[in-house]
Every structure is written in C-alpha cells, then in structure tokens.
C-alpha cells in the first residue's frame, strides 16, 4: 500500500532536509512505561533500524538591540556520534488561516544547516545569548512513506548548570515526547502533511499526535494497547 524505503544513513537524511525550507510536524506525549511498546510498533511500521538519539539543544536569542525584531536560532549537537556534530536550525512561523486549520499537522517554515563546532562561539560573538538548553535522550526512526518521515521518542532533560549535560534531569519524569516531522516545500507540503497524518493514525492506540502546543494528553487505553504489543511482539493488528 505504501512504499517503504530505507535511508542509508543520517547524512542522506540531512542532504534531503537542506533542500526544503518547511516542515510538517506533530507532537504527542507518552508514558515512559509504554515507550518499549511504541518502539516495537514503530519497528514494525517503519521497516528500518532505530537510531539512538542524544541531542543537546541550545536555544539562542538575539540581544535587545539586535535586529528590528528579536530572533531565535537553535543549535543542535548530536552527542551520539564519535565526534559531536552540530546543526543550526531556524524555525519560522506556522501556516495560519482556514487552509491551515483544515490540516491536522503543523506546517511551518524551517531551515537547517550542518555547521562546524565553532557555531556557538560565532553566534555569541554576533550577539546571540543562550536562552535555554535541553538534552533529548531516546531513539528515532527515519524512513520513507510517500514523504521522508522522522519519528523520535525522547525524554527531555534540563540542566541545573549551563552546559552540564551529565547532570541533566528529566523535565517531566515518567513522560516522554514523541515528535513526527517531515521536510516539505511550498509546492508539496499538503502531500507531506497527508502522509504524516496518515502515518500517525497507526500510532493512535499508543500516542495521540497533534500540532505542537495543542496537547491532548496521553491515550487512556495505551496500557491495553501496550500490553498487546508486548505480549506478541507487535504481531497482532491493533
């Protein structure tokens, strides 16, 4: 029914992302006790190997006199690589209006670039200061299902001191965040949104995914669904 493709590696994923200037995104929350079941479900749906996720995310904001409007940029440091690799990401405004209301995923401007390790020093020198930082720890699947979709499941951790990654503690113990994103362009975003939306339906028994900042809480029947997945390794249709 859907074409399943396997991405060779994360490098190819970034190559695709850099040519797109938008993304479709949905988010949800899941209790940590059900994450293993979600992983089994995702493994069966995606048909690719899961990848570990350990990303230090630094959100920088422009100082008070810089720019006609204040601006934000995110630096992402992938700590799971032998040598940490950096990405800079700019998230713009989400689509609004009646057209956007009819789409169940958020469509927003987004541009990413790989960047060398001096990026934080550079942005500091340009007048950007650290606003907040997080450590996301979990796993992700990157696969193709009409669109190039990424699903990540991670605990979000805060640091008691600046850059103290080793001392990070969960923001919401017992809960993890599920992010589903797909790069898009002004030409194909509705097709990508439909692909993401369609995929999310398969995850509905365990996690309800919606536009970010519009939380719908956990799925009340997740426990039963998880039990079913764990008992037969995901072979039973939900």
């Amino acid at each position: 029914m859907y074409s399943r493709g396997r991405w060779c590696d994360f490098t190819k994923y970034f190559e695709l992302k850099k040519n797109n200037s938008m993304e479709c995104v949905v988010q949800g929350i899941i209790e940590t006790q059900h994450v293993e079941a979600l992983e089994i479900l995702l493994q069966g749906l995606c048909g690719v190997q899961r990848e570990r996720l350990r990303v230090h995310e630094l959100c920088l904001k422009s100082g008070p006199s810089l720019g006609n409007v204040s601006s934000e940029v995110r630096l992402l440091c992938d700590l799971d690589q032998p040598e940490p690799t950096w990405t800079v990401k700019h998230v713009g405004g989400a689509m609004r209006g009646p057209g956007a209301d009819q789409i169940s995923v958020m469509v927003r401007a987004m541009v990413e670039s790989k960047v060398s390790k001096n990026a934080l020093r550079m942005f500091n020198a340009l007048g950007y200061k650290l606003d907040h930082e997080l450590l996301k720890v979990g796993f992700a699947f990157h696969f193709q299902r009409t669109a190039n979709i990424s699903v990540s499941v991670s605990s979000v951790n805060k640091m008691p001191k600046v850059h103290a990654i080793d001392e990070a503690v969960p923001v919401t113990p017992g809960m993890q965040i599920v992010d589903v994103t797909a790069p898009a362009t002004p030409v194909n975003y509705s097709e990508v949104a439909a692909a993401v939306s369609s995929f999310c339906e398969f995850l509905a028994p365990l996690v309800h995914l919606s536009k970010p900042f519009i939380s719908t809480g956990v799925v009340p029947t997740a426990a039963a669904a998880a039990a079913s997945l764990m008992s037969d390794g995901g072979g039973t249709a939900l």
Partner: protein, 219 residues
C-alpha cells in the same frame, strides 16, 4: 585536501590595481606553460548588524564576513577575524541568516578569473570586483599544490614555486607584486592538515590587507 596559498596583488606606492595587471599575470601563467582549465568564481559578503540603537554598534563585530568558495559549491564559510572564529556550514545557512533579519550583507564582492594546471600545481588568477560593478578592486592568485595536504610539508615546495613565479613576473616590470601573508592558523583552531576553512581564513586576511592598502592610499 591540497594545500593552497592565496596571494594578493600589492601595488607599489602611487600606483593602482587594474585589469591590465590581471591580463599580464594571466599571460605570465600561460608563458610558464600553465594549461587553461576554465573559469572560477568565489563570492564574499560583508555583514553588518541591523541595530535598533546605533549607539551599541561597538558591541558587535565589524569584520563579520561570509564566503562561498569555488571548490565547495554546497558550503558557506563565516569568519570573524578579530575574534579568530571560522565556521563552515551548508549553503542553507545563508537562508537562515536572511530569516534571522539580524545581519545584512552590505557589500558583496566576486573573485573571478581563470584556472590553470601547471604540473602538480593548480593556479587561479582573478580580479576582485563588487557584484554590480566592473571596477577592479584587487587581484588574487590561488596557488594549490595537489600532492600534499600538510602545510608544513608543502612549505618548501610552495616557496620554491613562488620564486619561479616572481622571477617570471618580474620580466613584465609591473608596478607591484603578489604577496603571501603568513598567519597562525592555530589561533583559529585549525591544524596542519589543510581544509577549506583555511582558505576562508586566508581570504578574510587578504581582504583586510586590501582594505588597509586602499585606506593607506586615501590617507
């Protein structure tokens, strides 16, 4: 990647740079059996902060520049020379800078000319022009030694090549010379193994010297 030196034309006191000098330099390369391979182009942007309050200007770097290199079409390089910062990014970083609306490119320059193969060397000679003008502001020359990527190991052979080059060029009695500027790449966090970031830093230094030369002439 191969080691590269970036030289710039330093006119004698009282003389200026012109297309004629570029033509002479190009002919000189051909006279020592350089084989023309095609054109090359690099682009440099000087960024200025957009400030709500101009009195705070001193807080922000005055030498923030970005460069795209002929060898690396999918990359973009930022340099803040005064703070010894060099960053390599994907070309999409330019779109990010546009969307941040905190810095704007105020001056853009092209480096463009011809590329030559000369034994184990690749040479690029080019003029420096503003993007909307044909007014030659400078001349640069890239000298790349293809077999070696260690800067220390290549130093001697590069110096020997430059002696040959200076001798060939001196027969044309031009009012100036090509100059190579040595710098401490370690201050930028760069090592002995040559990378495009080294080239970006070299170009930033060449621009600083060219500007200083112009200001000295005007002074």
């Amino acid at each position: 990647m191969p080691v590269k030196w970036v030289l710039h034309w330093q006119p004698n006191q009282g003389s200026t740079v012109s297309s004629q000098i570029l033509n002479e330099a190009t002919q000189c390369v051909e006279s020592i059996n350089g084989v023309k391979e095609g054109r090359w182009k690099a682009t440099l942007n000087y960024y200025k902060p957009l400030l709500r309050d101009q009195t705070n200007q001193a807080e922000f770097p005055r030498d923030f520049l970005g460069i795209s290199l002929a060898d690396q079409p999918n990359k973009y390089y930022f340099i803040i020379r005064s703070q010894r910062i060099v960053v390599e990014a994907d070309s999409s970083i330019q779109l990010i800078m546009e969307r941040l609306q905190s810095y704007k490119s105020k001056v853009a320059l092209y480096f463009e000319g011809f590329q030559y193969q000369l034994g184990d060397f690749r040479l690029r000679v080019g003029k420096v022009v503003p993007t909307h003008s044909e007014n030659v502001r400078g001349i640069v020359m890239e000298v790349e030694y293809l077999p070696i990527s260690s800067m220390e190991k290549s130093r001697k052979v590069m110096e020997e090549f430059l002696e040959i080059w200076h001798e060939a060029l001196s027969k044309r009695s031009l009012p100036g010379k090509f100059v190579n500027i040595d710098l401490n790449f370690g201050e930028f966090g760069l090592g002995d193994n040559y990378t495009p970031q080294h080239t970006a830093v070299r170009y930033a230094l060449v621009m600083a010297h060219m500007i200083a030369t112009v200001q000295a002439v005007r002074g």
